[in-house]
Amino acid sequence: MSILIDKQTRLVVSGITGREGSFHTTQMMAYGTNVVAGVTPGKGGQFFAAAGQQVPIFDTIAEAVLETGANTSMIIVPARFAVEAIYEAADAGVSLIVCLTEYIPVLDMIAARAYLDAKGVRLVGPNCPGLLTPGQAKVGFIPGNIAMPGPVGVVSKSGTLTYEVIDALTRLGIGQTTCVGIGGDPINGTDFIDVLKLFEADAETEHIVMIGEIGGNAEEQAAVFIKQHVSKPVTAFIAGRTAPPGRRMGHAGAIVEGKSGTAEGKIAALREAGIPVAENPDDIARIVAQRMGKA
């Protein structure tokens, strides 16, 4: 088993003919992801060729869903078009939207997230590396060759740091159920708690690795949630212990955030919840191996 994506995933890629879109779609298809459609307005009727397949291109996601039964949307278009593509995917009826695009205006995401919540559609991202279920499907950037199937669920706010951790796990022979990059934007679609719930319910996931970073209080909230609702062992890492504090304008930030948001605060909250926090990404894999009785 796995979460969110697997062999049943039927992916439609918005931005399939773009520079990044075509490169990563090719990589996903080579990995075995079932890419059933692409979308580029004005290019409906053409085909995207990769990995020995011809993927039909549509003008709209709605047509792609009607014609191909796509159930998952990946968005890899420039920031100024990305929110529109999120609305489009939600209206078209997919159950999961993965938005890789970065630099989306925050107020646009606030509106989009409210819309998605009302519709009951799940978004992963934006500004995220996507998802990887080793051996089954890859939706996004996570390099397939660094991962292997196994019992660890990985959830992370970060991009490349996630690869670092997956790579370290794999080098120790510890595979993954699914790796989920939720993105580090202030407003995103899926947060740590959402993914923790899914891993907790996934029969194959035995251990969870959670990778956070400074800013916001998602890690603190996750720590409380884990203590109350997660029975599986969780190992964590927080990036940014040495980051300099930003220059702050005005009083509002201090009033709202108080002392949350710092690496120390997050690490303390996680340890308080009984979660080991690694000092170094390589250590994460070692701690997991130890806790799984592999080292």
Binding site: E20, H24, A79, R80, E102, Y103, I104, P105, V106, L107, I110, A111, R113, A114, P129, F141, I142, P143, I146, S156, K157, S158, G159, T160, L161, T162, Y163, E164, D167, A168, G184, P186, I187, E213, I214, G216, N217, Q221, F237, A239, G240, R241, T242, A243, P244, R247, R248, M249, G250, H251, A252, G253, A254, I255, V256, G258, E279, N280, P281, D282
Partner: protein
């Protein structure tokens, strides 16, 4: 992107929020003229991208044009939290004096994923203390992105603050104006502190702060024009122009990493092994060779740098592009500083092949790379 007080207040005024008459001066002579136009009773305020101006002596009252000139003379050129004051705002005093100071802000509440209006009848410089000691005095109302601010919300705030009822209509106009200003300019923070009740019984925004979401600047040309880089370090300006996220620090190990999380982690691990990073540098996703070259030049322009650690885990970014950028930069910039390179992920093998001829220390893991960089930087210190 942060705005100056005068820029924020002009945007407020464009959305119907009353502000004092005033103008910006870059010289004491300007200040004299402005103060004279305003009748002499003015406040002269440093315009820098930092809080704490009042406590640093950057805000002075004047009761004649000559006093205003003297105040401007003292403030211009002053350093506030490391930033030099190049201009002052000369504002009329609140008509009839100040009867009450109110705090009012619109900001983004990440946890609730909504814009939030925050207000308190106990405004002024001690608002953070009020928030800590008497949190019930801070009133918070969330705004639905599709509905905007409604009259029942400003009425609720007004009622809870005990605002005199004859000011409710004006308060509603100010709250909706401030929210409209926040939204129209893609702000992440819009703060008025204090919003005063003047001696004449009117509301007026005496101070203003605004932070704009950098992601939205593409659609805000009028805000981009307001950018004042006079207090920003040159290297950071160059980095921004090249689309690189760069912050200079005090250590001696230059870092070039892809991804903010991995960049912070690289710094953390350098520290863990006893080193000190010279900078935070994220070349972003999908960086091209030219960007990599620019990043390296930025790092090497810092005389403190004794070693450079390049840590790239390719996903969007491809190892071969990074390697080409390094080669390009090293052709242009002659340097004796030792390099540690660690490439992994997408096209890492291709990248290592390109770098094979350059004399560089290589590493397989981040720990390994950090330890080697720390050792090289110490060696550099010793030589």
């Amino acid at each position: 992107m942060n705005l100056h007080e005068f820029q924020a207040k002009r945007l407020f005024a464009a959305h119907g929020v009353p502000i004092p008459r005033g103008d910006v001066a870059r010289t004491p002579e300007d200040a004299t003229r402005i103060a004279a136009d305003l009748g002499g009773h003015v406040v002269v305020k440093a315009q820098v991208h930092s809080g704490g101006r009042g406590k640093a002596g950057g805000v002075k009252l004047a009761h004649s044009a000559a006093e205003a000139a003297a105040a401007a003379q003292q403030i211009l050129g002053m350093q506030i939290r490391g930033l030099t004051v190049h201009q002052v705002l000369v504002d009329e005093l609140a008509p009839g004096g100040i009867a009450q100071e109110i705090y009012l802000a619109v900001l983004i509440d990440r946890a609730r994923r909504r814009p939030m209006i925050m207000a308190s009848a106990a405004g002024g410089m001690d608002i953070e203390q009020v928030a800590e000691e008497s949190p019930e005095k801070i009133i918070k109302v969330h705004v639905d992105p599709f509905l905007g601010v409604r009259a029942y919300q400003s009425n609720f705030i007004a009622a809870r603050m005990g605002l005199p009822r004859e000011l409710w209509a004006q308060f509603h106009q100010i709250v909706t104006g401030l929210y409209a200003c926040f939204k129209a300019n893609d702000a992440s923070l819009t703060e008025v502190n204090p919003l005063v009740i003047t001696g004449e019984g009117k509301l007026m925004a005496l101070d203003g702060k605004m932070t704009i979401d950098d992601n939205s600047l593409f659609r805000l040309p009028h805000i981009v024009e307001m950018r004042d880089t006079s207090d920003e370090p040159e290297a950071e300006q160059k980095a921004r122009a090249a689309g690189i996220n760069f912050i200079k620090l005090d250590g001696n190990i230059g870092c070039m990493v892809n991804g903010a999380g991995l960049a912070m982690t690289t710094m953390d691990v350098i520290k863990l092994y006893g080193g000190a990073p010279a900078n935070f540098l994220d070349i972003g996703g999908g960086a091209k060779a030219e960007q990599v070259a620019t990043a390296l030049r930025l790092i090497l322009s810092d005389a403190n740098v004794q070693a450079v650690l390049i840590n790239i885990f390719g996903g969007i970014t491809r190892g071969d592009e990074v390697a080409k950028g390094i080669i390009t930069a090293l052709e242009q910039v002659q340097t004796e500083v030792p390099f540690v390179v660690r490439l992994a992920g997408t096209n890492a093998a291709e990248g290592m092949a390109i770098l094979a001829d350059a004399k560089m220390t290589t590493a397989v893991t981040l720990s390994d790379a950090a330890q080697k960089a720390v050792a090289l930087a110490k060696g550099g210190n010793n030589s």
